[in-house]
């Protein structure tokens, strides 16, 4: 397991999202609170944007 060192804010729910020290732009991470898929837009400062989502269909 890699250590968490950077903290960014989830653009969806404002939770703190930890990023690995070696995180890179355009990597996808998951928000620990709302479980959105987030894309790393920049690492300095650490910024996240919502990643395009696949539609989930939970049925009729």
């Amino acid at each position: 397991m890699s250590k968490t060192v950077l903290a960014a804010e989830c653009p969806e729910c404002a939770a703190d999202v930890g990023l690995d020290a070696d995180a890179r732009v355009s990597e996808i991470v998951e928000c620990v609170e709302c479980r959105s898929e987030l894309e790393i837009e920049s690492v300095d400062p650490p910024t996240l944007v919502r990643a395009p989502e696949v539609e989930e269909d939970w049925g009729e």
């Binding site: 539609e55 939970w58 049925g59 009729e60």
Partner: protein, 341 residues
Amino acid sequence: MIRVAVVGAAGYIGGELLRLLVSHPDVELAAATSRSLQGRQIDGVHPNLRSRTTLRFSAEDELDHYDAIFLATPHRETMARMTEFLGLARTVIDLSGDFRLASTAAYEDYYGTPHTAPDLIESFVTGLPELHREALRTADRISVPGCMASAGILALTPLAHAGLIRGEITVDARTGSSGSGAKAGSENLHAERSGALRVFAPTRHRHEAEISQATGLPVRMTATGVEAVRGVQLVSRAHLAPDVDERDIRSAYRAAYGDEPFVRVVAHRRGLHRFPDAKILSGSNFCDVGFALEAGSPQVTVISALDNLVKGGAGNAVQCLNVRYGLSERAGLEFTGLHPN
């Protein structure tokens, strides 16, 4: 005999149509299509039909022409191919969601995709005999409402149309697993789905739009998957117009359903079975509707239940066929339901 075909016959709605049609006294089931199972006997996936039929699934391109054709195919796909389907039969009865909403904007909003056959929408009659019996007698394009939608529409329209309720309606819907069809995925894996209380649509379930369209009132609906294979139950709340009491509500329901073969009003003061419960409706074409008032409260709680595959789908479609072809409305739909079950 009415000669009919079922498209999408390998699925759950398709299978339920087959069950009802093979026993229907006035119908000849001429074809049942499946892309994945063509050539196979239909009782391989619908084992309840063993000894009742020797029909095999056919390919869609083997279809010729029928009095009526039932479409039990997924939405999107159905509208994409509707023109083709319309050429196959005098009467097309569509069970998908594609032609239920009059507004293309509502369709796009709720289904997340633009409607691809907007010109056809208006030609479809809503397949709910309780509300559209006259139009159905001559309708050749019929769009059957959604399962939860049917339960909501049958529960709420008598009150809405009589002006007994007003303002926003909230609906808490519960559904069994057959409501999402026969396609396996982690969401309906037995170990995950069994015993679940899964709020899969906390807001904006598609059937909300259908109930709103039928009642003319704004609707907010939440849908939860509960432990059941078949069955839908809705608990709805609405605001009463001033001075409405129990007698007004009973009398609105009596006016609407006193002569209906498949809607029963169940609102008892005593006993174990005081309100509609889907448990006893499996396999039957009934929609049970009930309600409760509270002294001093301006709200009414309305409870309704049905079997999603029958009155919420295939049974309702067969009832429409019966109306359209002047048959006894109960034909092929006599099964009472089981207790205990």
